[in-house]
Amino acid sequence: MENLISWLRSNVTLDTILALLGFGFAIYEIRKTKSAVIASKEASEKTVQLLSDRSTISDIATIINGLRETQTALRGNRHEAALLRLQDLREKLYELRNREGFTSEERLTQIQTMVFALKKLQDGLETTLSTSTQVKISVPRSNSQLAEFAVQISGWREEMHYIDRSNQE
């Protein structure tokens, strides 16, 4: 023990002590900065997620509006307007396939069922518009189906709102 004390007295200078203190402080600062970087990264990821959720909620609202506009167009026998809406709806639904919360097998099958039904209605309208055919679209049946889709999609919007709130916590 005495040897150690004597060695320290002869070798450790004020410079060494200051250098050690400085080194410790530097490590402390680095760790603090690293935590801040991680926190900042997490915050930016949450913000991106939040923006993505907002975008999906907005797209869902657009889809519901599109379904209602299609129903109105069908009731008024405005088949050309209905066709335009149906094409937009199919594209919007297709875009949802890669969004957060929409990639499960069950949700994708629901989207596929809707996209197909909209295409079927679209084809039926196109046939109706052609002059040589006697085929006629059933407006009550089609509108009932579109209403069912709107209800189902409203449920998805509620789910997204729930995810939205949990992100803000």
């Binding site: 396939r97 099958t109 069922t113 197909f116 085929v135 006629k136 049946r141 089609s142 189906q145």
Partner: protein, 137 residues
């Protein structure tokens, strides 16, 4: 019938017989002539998975003396037609297709389940058509 479509039809038939294909009505057409036509919703069925849809329906025929051909469409995620086949009544697979449409119709209507329930009710003792739980006293 295309060989690849035949394989699909046979697979669908096997699964439909086991009541394991989630068929849905697919028609959006109105019934123009109720006396001569089958209700369009009774002849147009589809089943969807996450990535594709198979649609099966009686197609319109130009020849009134001929049975209506049955068409099978396979559509992708955008609802675009990927492949199809039309089977006419002179083809050997026509009966397979008729059976498949019939099974799809039964599934959508819930016909087998309902008939089974009726038979179960008829086999029980007591009054048929009166649920014991509904009797207040």
């Amino acid at each position: 019938m295309k060989p690849e479509i035949r394989a699909i039809v046979e697979g669908l038939l096997r699964k439909s017989k086991e009541d394991k294909v989630a068929w849905v009505h697919a028609s959006t057409l109105a019934n123009l002539n109720a006396e001569t036509e089958i209700n369009p919703s009774e002849q147009d069925f589809a089943v969807s998975t996450a990535n594709f849809t198979i649609n099966l329906y009686y197609s319109l025929s130009d020849d009134p003396d001929q049975n209506r051909p049955i068409r099978l469409n396979i559509l992708n995620e955008m609802g675009e037609l990927v492949t199809f086949d039309v089977i006419y009544d002179f083809e050997e697979e026509y009966d397979l297709m008729v059976e498949l449409v019939s099974l799809a119709r039964k599934y959508v209507r819930g016909e087998d389940k309902l008939l089974k329930k009726i038979m179960e009710g008829l086999q029980k003792p007591g009054v048929f058509g009166l649920n014991d739980d509904d009797v207040p006293f």
